[in-house]
């Protein structure tokens, strides 16, 4: 059935297949859950890419995990591996409305009405929860193979408008922005914008779906940022379009957010309410169109190329472990000792096993052991044994004593080399007794 070009990459309990979408901070992949064979979509976000607070990225999860509604992509789970965050969610096999537009160039009005009606239903839920999506556009409206419509991408929803400029979302999608969103920064007394911004974007999206692109798409997005608040709202014109859709768009694009209708009011508009009774036939049209689109992309074998190749975060386990570039030196006793003793007869032994000794001493990854002295972060328990033997060495009054103790240390090094972990085990036993 499903034609597989290459073998999947397995992360946690998921087999990750091809890239199905590109985002600003990562890519979206199709994957299969190995425990229940369910298809899922996984959005991979590289958290080290930008120096913004990770909260800006976890916000999306905080948002999504609090929503449960048939018109919103459902959230499954999130996990972190290395610098990447994997957001697992319901798979929408029809892709985004933007993908569908790319295939069909423009969509018939009935299909647009169905999509927009379900978008409004999603918005009614969202706005009732006192949440604003802030990025409604065809690329963020997803479809299942059964023609279900789901809002997705809550990456800029919630309270993070301040950081929008830093995240390129602001630059990427000004065409859909409500005038009050753009002027918000200037008139501070306005106190932000509210859920009505989503209504404006829904109006723009309606135009996008039925014509193939949002108004002003031919212009530089940065330039139109200044135009949108100044210009009169866009209107949908042309004999190809019904009065209903033109009227609907006009209502969505009322400049004053207070006068702009709410999502639940718009559900009563003729443009969408007309569907009642014809719902299943329109849905069948949509399903067919989705199937044709999917067939075509299978046939042409065109796959989306991820912005960040997937290979980057597999097989990285080995080199991942804190490979410090700089080897910090925290021991005020060891190097001195080794240096001083290196002229003795045991020189060779140090040379052979000394590595072991010093590498133990600067290893970074060990947890704080309960028996470590206060300052011994990063010191493995086994090293304490070396340390203690060394202290005993210093206590030796005669040279003979010292030589014997030194021999003991050298032997310890040799045994540790043969049997790594030996010294640690001794220290563990000692700590139990003490």
């Amino acid at each position: 059935m499903f034609y597989q070009t290459h073998t999947p990459i397995t992360i946690k309990q998921y087999d990750i297949f091809q890239c199905i979408g590109k985002g600003n901070f990562g890519d979206v992949y199709k994957a299969k859950c190995l425990t229940n064979a369910q298809d899922v979509a996984i959005k991979v976000v590289n958290l080290d890419e930008s120096n913004e607070d990770v909260k800006a990225f976890t916000q999306e999860i905080q948002f999504l995990s609090r929503l449960r509604n048939p018109y919103i992509t459902s959230y499954i789970e999130t996990f972190v591996k290395d610098f990447n965050m994997f957001i697992v969610m319901e798979y929408c096999g029809g892709g985004s409305c933007s993908d569908l537009l790319r295939y069909a160039k423009k969509l018939p009005e009935d299909i647009v009405a169905l999509i927009i009606r379900d978008v409004l239903k999603g918005l009614v839920y969202l706005h009732n929860e006192k949440k604003v999506h802030r990025d409604i556009k065809s690329a963020n409206i997803l479809l299942t193979e059964y023609g279900e419509v789901k809002l997705a991408d809550f990456g800029v929803s919630g309270e993070i408008t301040l950081t929008m400029k830093k995240r390129n979302t602001f630059v990427g999608t000004p065409f859909w922005m409500a005038p009050e969103v753009i002027t918000r920064g200037k008139s501070s007394d306005e106190g932000g914008y509210n859920e009505k911004a989503d209504i404006w974007s829904t109006g723009i999206t309606t135009i996008e779906l039925v014509t193939g692109s949002p108004p002003l798409a031919q212009y530089d997005p940065m330039k139109i940022l200044f135009d949108i608040p100044k210009k009169r709202p866009p209107v949908l014109v042309g004999i190809n379009f019904s009065d209903n859709i033109k009227d609907f768009v006009k209502y969505c694009l009322i400049k004053d957010p207070k006068a702009r209708p709410r999502a639940k009011d718009l559900l009563h508009h003729q443009f969408v309410s007309r569907l009642t009774g014809r719902n299943s036939s329109v849905k069948a049209m949509l399903v067919k169109m989705i199937r044709d689109k999917n067939m075509q992309s299978l046939a042409t074998g065109k796959v989306k190329k991820p912005k960040y190749p997937l290979e980057r975060f597999v097989d990285s386990d080995s080199e991942e472990q804190s490979s410090a570039k700089v080897q910090w030196d925290f021991e005020t006793f060891k190097s001195e000792f080794l240096r001083r003793r290196s002229s003795t007869t045991n020189k060779e032994v140090y040379k052979r096993y000394g590595d072991n000794y010093s590498s133990l001493q600067v290893s970074a990854s060990s947890p704080l052991s309960p028996i470590s002295p206060e300052s011994a972060v990063g010191v493995k328990p086994g090293q304490l044994l070396f340390y203690c033997v060394e202290q005993v060495y210093h206590r030796g009054r005669t040279e003979a004593t010292q030589r014997t103790v030194e021999q003991l240390l050298v032997n310890l090094l040799e045994y540790e080399h043969e049997l790594p972990g030996l010294c640690e085990a001794i220290v563990e036993e000692l700590s139990h007794v003490l």
């Binding site: 958290l47 120096n51 976890t58 905080q62 610098f83 490979s323 910090w328 005020t332 300052s375």
Partner: protein, 338 residues
């Protein structure tokens, strides 16, 4: 046309009483559970209308007042939080709305709900702190608790409780959204009321430092980033001076921050730097800190020459780096033999 004047026949008191009754009937093992869940949902929706009105009606202050009185008198908040898990997903959010609205309600500049929580039912706060232990209700409890700690007395109650240290465990929970939500609560409880926190940190230096250091050394990148960021915030807070004096004299802390400097992640290096610089800039350093700094002089010089400051768009960074480098070069060559 009598129906035009139809009003809700139930008084707010009736609603609260009915809600208490229905919540107590909830039982996940019972066949009737769905019925009582729906009943609770219906009553909570009515509570919401009393508090916030609906399309036709504005909220009435006297009705709200009756509702609040009945909620306190019947320990309704306790009943709701204790049984939160049994309520439906949407009802739990309505509990959040009820709780938060009552918290914000002030009479003569005081919140009666805050009073009630502290003096009558602190058990509720304890239950909220332990919220993250349940996957179903962790997020709701977190949100309610964060609303609570906006009030200093509750914040104080929370950080004084032995349960507070649980948050350092919760941030490691495998359910990502609960772990990060717990971190937000931890963060808020240590940053909102500055004076309160400065006393707390001064009195709990050892435990707090051990705990935050553990988080910074975590294997989880998100935990690391968040905890260093929190520490940075605390470090920048002048009021935390007593804590900071101890913190920057402790060579254990310096070592942990040095490992951040050499971390693979650029962002952790940067965050590490913004704490490291205070170790170097501190006028009177402890002997142990001085030893480690001196010992690694060459390492630092090598490190800072390679430190890729241009990848962060921070205009002050170059100046800061140069200053720190200069200070490091001034360090004595000698090494103390202990």
């Amino acid at each position: 046309m009598a129906f035009l004047f139809k009003r809700n026949p139930k008084t707010p008191q009736d609603i609260v009483r009915a809600l208490n009754d229905s919540v107590l009937k909830l039982d996940v093992n019972s066949d009737n559970n769905k019925k009582y869940q729906d009943e609770c949902a219906r009553l909570l929706a009515q509570v919401k209308v009393v508090l916030h009105g609906d399309d036709e009606n504005d909220p009435q202050p006297d009705q709200i007042s009756h509702l609040a009185q009945e909620v306190y008198a019947t320990d309704c908040l306790y009943t709701l939080i204790a049984n939160l898990k049994k309520l439906s997903f949407d009802s739990r959010k309505d509990v959040l709305i009820l709780f938060s609205t009552l918290l914000r309600r002030q009479i003569a500049g005081k919140s009666p709900t805050v009073d009630y929580l502290i003096t009558q039912r602190p058990e509720i706060i304890a239950m909220l702190i332990k919220g993250p232990e349940s996957q179903e209700t962790g997020l709701i409890c977190g949100q309610i608790l964060r609303d609570c700690i906006k009030f200093e007395v509750i914040n104080k109650y929370v950080i004084s409780s032995p349960l507070f240290w649980n948050f350092f465990k919760y941030v490691h929970l495998p359910v990502f959204e609960i772990a990060t939500d717990s971190f937000t609560t931890l963060h808020d409880s240590l940053t909102i009321h500055k004076k309160l926190v400065s006393e707390f940190l001064a009195n709990n230096y050892d435990v707090f430092t051990t705990q935050i250091n553990k988080l910074i050394q975590s294997n989880n990148y998100v935990t690391k980033r968040q905890s260093v960021r929190l520490l940075s915030e605390l470090v920048l807070q002048r009021q935390n001076q007593a804590f900071l004096n101890k913190y920057f004299d402790d060579s254990t802390n310096l070592k942990i921050i040095m490992f951040l400097l050499s971390d693979k992640s650029k962002n952790l290096q940067l965050e590490g730097f913004h704490i490291f610089k205070f170790f170097v800039a501190k006028p009177k350093k402890s002997q142990k800190v001085l030893d480690i700094l001196a010992k690694n002089k060459e390492n630092f010089i090598e490190f800072f020459n390679a430190f890729d400051i241009h990848s962060f768009n921070d205009v002050n960074l170059a100046d800061e780096r140069d200053y720190i480098l200069m200070e490091i070069q001034k360090l004595p060559e000698i090494e103390r033999i202990s």
